[in-house]
Every structure is written in structure tokens, then in C-alpha cells.
């Protein structure tokens, strides 16, 4: 092993811990709708460690994938080679996602609020945005239908906002109008239960009565650090767990096998 990698095994970056922590949310044999980037790393790491039978599905239509290289996009040809099935997008969104067969979905975004609503569409006014973002893709339906929904995002007061400029993917409470009080997800009769956890670079947040609540912090991070990275008054659980540091073996797998070129880890 490269001496540099070896030496660094006592330390790790917050991004590395974020990937390791997200991978721990995945159980063996679960059917997961994989997103590209950090969620993809978390899924591959889970397969390499505690969940060898994790069943990976991509919105491009690749089912039961075993890619030889790290996919650069959700439509990378390496996802096709050696997969169990390839289906059309009509099938992916209807027979796999809408039918309720997806156990775990992953999302990220440019803005998230305390109810887990996510914006990946615009910053500013919809008709006249200061930044035009890519939009929903499959995110809106993943948020509606996943039985367990994991959000993977780095924390900052710019992204963890009091109100999203636009709600692309539904969380636990929705604002029907700009000035209205939020209404509960249950009133909208969405098939999936909504966001489960938010795995960040500082800690993990869960939804208690629909509201994002800090329940776990990474080593050397304080609750105050997390609170100052959120632009509303964040709820903090009475008992705060500290996330264990990743094992040397897990770090080695992540660095040498999962993302050796550090495409997403940097």
C-alpha cells in the first residue's frame, strides 16, 4: 500500500466519514435507487462491507448492477455490462418506483428546509431565477415513493435554509402558498413516508414529528457547530450520540477500491 494512504489511516476527512455513515444506513438485500456521487460511493462501500447483496437500481434503467469502474453518470455504460436487467424508463418509474418496490432512495440538493423539502430547481424566483439549477430529474418521484429516503448533503447556512425558494421534492410538511402555514405530508396522501435521515459532513439528523432534529455528531464536532450551519433554530435531541470513527479496514476499502481516483471523495 502507498505509504501516504497508510499513514492517513488514523485520520479521515469529513466527506469520508459522511460516505461511511451513509453506507451504514443500508441493509443487506435492500433494493436501493442509487444516485451518482456520494450516494453511489455509500452503496458500493456497503456492498464491499456489511451488505454484499445490496440490490442497486439506477434511474437510467440498469437493474442489479455490478460495475467494474466507478460510474461517472447514472447512464454510464459500465452499469449495463454484467447487470441483471435493463429496462426502459417507463418501467423504471412505473413498475419499479411507483409500484412501491424501491426500499431506499437517495437525494441531495441545493436547498433543504427543516421539513426535508428539497430544492434542485432554482435559486430566487421561478420565472426570473438568479441561478437556474438542473431541476427534478427523478427526484420528485423518488421523494414521493421511496419507503426509506436518505438525504446526503454537506451542511451550510446557505443550503440548510428556513424556506426553500422552490420545492422540487416533497418532505414532511408543504407550504401550499408563500404565506401559508405548512400542511402535513399525510394530508397529501403520498405513498412513501418521506425523508428518513439527513447524513451530512458534521453529523446525522432525523425527522421527529416531521422536523429535522440533530441526533448524532461526528467526533470533534459540537452541536453549536451544527446549529451555526443551519439558518433556522435547529432542534437538538436531548441525548446526542457521537458517530464512531471509521475502521481502518473500511477506510482502506473506500480509498483503494471504491474511489481510488478520489473522483468524489475530494
Amino acid at each position: 500500500m502507498d505509504s501516504k494512504v497508510k499513514k492517513a489511516l488514523n485520520t479521515y476527512t469529513s466527506t469520508e466519514l459522511m460516505v461511511v455513515r451513509a453506507s451504514q444506513e443500508l441493509a443487506n438485500s435492500e433494493i436501493v435507487f442509487v444516485g451518482i456521487g456520494l450516494p453511489n460511493l455509500a452503496c458500493v462501500l456497503a456492498r464491499e462491507t456489511h451488505a454484499p447483496n445490496l440490490f442497486m437500481i439506477y434511474e437510467s434503467g440498469a437493474i442489479g448492477t455490478t460495475p467494474e469502474r466507478l460510474p461517472i453518470s447514472i447512464g454510464d455504460p459500465c452499469l449495463v455490462t454484467g447487470s441483471l436487467s435493463i429496462v426502459s424508463q417507463a418501467d423504471i418509474f412505473q413498475t419499479y418506483l411507483q409500484s412501491g418496490r424501491i426500499e431506499v432512495g437517495f437525494l441531495g440538493g441545493a436547498q433543504i428546509d427543516r421539513w426535508g423539502n428539497i430544492n434542485t430547481t432554482v435559486i430566487g424566483d421561478y420565472e426570473n431565477p438568479s441561478i437556474r439549477l438542473p431541476g427534478s430529474g427523478g427526484a420528485c418521484e423518488i421523494a414521493a415513493h421511496s419507503r426509506k429516503l436518505l438525504i446526503v448533503m454537506k451542511m451550510s447556512a446557505k443550503t440548510f435554509v428556513d424556506r426553500c425558494d422552490y420545492i422540487t421534492s416533497p418532505g414532511h410538511k408543504y407550504y401550499p402558498n408563500k404565506d401559508s402555514e405548512p400542511r402535513s405530508r399525510s394530508e397529501f396522501n403520498l405513498p412513501g413516508p418521506g425523508p428518513t435521515k439527513v447524513v451530512t459532513d458534521l453529523g446525522v439528523l432525523e425527522f421527529i414529528d416531521g422536523e429535522m432534529t440533530l441526533t448524532e455528531i461526528y467526533p470533534n464536532v459540537t452541536a453549536e457547530d451544527v446549529k451555526s450551519s443551519v439558518s433556522w433554530d435547529l432542534c437538538v435531541a436531548a441525548e446526542l450520540r457521537t458517530t464512531p470513527s471509521p475502521s481502518e479496514e473500511t477506510l482502506k476499502k473506500l480509498r483503494l477500491e471504491v474511489d481510488p481516483d478520489r473522483l468524489y471523495l475530494n
Binding site: 441561478i131 438542473p134 427526484a139 420528485c140 414521493a144
Partner: protein, 299 residues
């Protein structure tokens, strides 16, 4: 069978609604470049993921309206021409009609099935429907539950790229299928663009692989490497470095114009484009063989 130049001139007119489908895989850049060369304007462009090819059409001034569901540079970042023409204070704004992927797939499902709309269990508690008046709701006649609906879409022309086809346009595809079948069956005219032209007997020997039948196809174009920098499974890999480099090229109108001049306006056709890419890159992207075993179709 015709050249790309003839197929585009015949099917794509000013004001046409066009759909170059293909999800990451089999995106026909050759068709996009030919539309730019023919300077066809005021197009209503439809595509789930506009990708670089529609961004180039937008920068070249060909597009007045875009119907889409995810507009980014996949795995890299933003589409800069699109941003320049949709953000606050932009000159020459284009009109956006926005869905999620499932919503736009559902429009093709309705269009290809001869139905006026398609229902989907989606969009509640999201702002997508609030900003798109074409998304409506219906009460399920069996359960009473509220469902979202989207209207059928019928592009004037859909362009489908495939790995192999016969001269009648019986198009065979393997690898990611995207929404190409539904897009072809929704369209008023269909152009099939193919990497390989094969004999009909080969198509008949493996009929399960035919995605689009020749009976609905108007024009067939033989255009090897027609998808670069996208890819064709079993033929050539995605040119990821191109997508990465594109971020810088497309950030300013000047470097964007230089690219379009060099690789689109100054080349006559796809052959010249590929020659310009150069042999080392072509060799690097060539797919390695990974053959499957055939099956017995006998009875």
C-alpha cells in the same frame, strides 16, 4: 436511406417541435450539429435531459421553447447556454416547460398509446405542478384517490439513434433504452440514425432486440460515431473528458462560439467531425468486446 443533411432538411422546419431522445446513451449529436449547420430556428425542443446537444442548439439560437425534466451536464454541473438564456436579466429568453422525469416519460407514454393523457401518482406537496399548468389532477374512478395527469405529446419529429438497423429502419438497441420507443411512437415523423446498416435477415434472426419497427420510420441515416461525446454500447464509450472540459468551454460565449465554429460550422458532416477528433481519441473510446450468447428462436 438518406444523408443526415437530407433527413434534417426534410423533417425539421422553422417552428418544428423536435425530440432527439436517448438517456445518456445513444444521444444523436450528429443530428443536433446538422440542425445548427442548417440554421433552423424557433424550434420547440423536447428532451428529458437536454444534455450538451440541446445546450449547443440553444447557444446557436435554434431553440425558442424547451420541454425537459433535468437540465444539467451529467456528472459535471450546469448547462451554461441554458442558464444564460433562462436566468434573471437574460437577453433572448427561451421558454421553459418543466416536468420531472416521470412526468415527461408519461407524456410520451400517452402520446405513444393514443391516449389524451397519462395518470401518475405524483406531484402532490411539490411546486412542480404549481409552475406548469399542463399538469392537472383527476379523481380515480375506482378508489376516488387524486392522481396527477400530464397531456400526450406528439413531436413533429423524433430522432432515434440505434446500434444497428436495416435500410427500412428496423432499429435494434441494446444497453440503456431510455424513452426512445415511446418517443418514436409518439412522433409525427421518425428518423432512425444507426451505427451499422445490416441486412434484414440479421434483424429477423433476433427480433426481440428491435426497439423501433421500420413501419413507423420515415428516414434512415447511416451515421457511425453519431453520438460522440455520448456513447453507443458495444461501439464506443462515453467521452467523459469531453463532458468535463465542456464546463470551461461553455462558460463564456466566446469560447462557446470558437467550439461551434471549429467542430460544427466548419465541418461538412460527421465524417469530418470524427476525423477532427483524431485517431488516438477514437481508438481510446472504442468499446472492448463483451459478447453475449445467442438464444434459440426455433420451435
Amino acid at each position: 436511406m438518406v444523408s443526415m443533411k437530407e433527413a434534417i432538411a426534410e423533417c425539421v422546419k422553422p417552428g418544428s417541435s423536435i425530440n432527439i431522445e436517448g438517456f445518456t446513451h445513444l444521444i444523436c449529436f450528429a443530428a443536433g450539429h446538422e440542425i445548427i449547420r442548417q440554421e433552423i430556428k424557433d424550434l420547440k425542443a423536447i428532451r428529458l435531459t437536454p444534455d450538451l446537444v440541446y445546450d449547443q442548439l440553444i447557444e446557436a439560437g435554434c431553440v425558442s421553447e424547451l420541454t425537459f425534466s433535468w437540465a444539467g451536464n451529467p456528472g459535471v454541473g450546469s448547462l451554461h447556454a441554458l442558464r444564460r438564456k433562462t436566468q434573471a436579466n437574460s437577453k433572448d429568453r427561451i421558454k421553459l416547460i418543466e416536468y420531472s422525469h416521470f412526468g415527461l416519460v408519461a407524456r410520451f407514454l400517452a402520446g405513444s398509446s393514443g391516449l389524451p393523457f397519462w395518470p401518475l401518482n405524483n406531484y402532490r406537496a411539490s411546486d412542480i405542478a404549481a409552475h406548469n399548468s399542463e399538469i392537472k389532477t383527476i379523481s380515480c374512478p375506482y378508489t376516488g384517490a387524486e392522481l396527477a395527469t400530464v397531456p400526450a405529446i406528439h413531436p413533429d419529429v423524433t430522432i432515434v439513434h440505434c446500434q444497428r438497423a436495416d435500410k427500412f429502419g428496423n432499429a435494434q438497441v441494446w444497453g440503456l433504452l431510455g424513452t426512445q420507443k415511446e418517443a418514436a411512437f409518439s412522433a409525427k415523423k421518425v428518423i432512425v440514425v444507426t451505427e451499422d446498416i445490416v441486412d434484414t435477415s440479421l434483424i429477423r434472426s433476433d427480433p426481440n432486440r428491435t426497439l423501433v419497427p421500420g413501419v413507423i420510420v420515415d428516414f434512415v441515416v447511416h451515421e457511425p460515431w453519431g453520438c460522440h461525446p455520448s456513447y453507443a454500447q458495444g461501439f464506443y464509450d462515453r467521452d467523459n473528458q469531453f463532458y468535463v472540459n465542456w464546463d470551461q468551454i461553455s462558460r463564456s460565449s466566446e469560447t462557446y462560439a470558437d467550439y461551434l465554429n471549429e467542430f460544427v460550422y466548419s465541418v461538412r458532416d460527421r465524417k469530418e467531425y470524427i476525423k477532427k477528433l483524431g485517431e488516438p481519441l477514437v481508438q481510446k473510446l472504442l468499446a472492448k468486446a463483451k459478447m453475449c450468447e445467442g438464444v434459440n428462436y426455433g420451435f
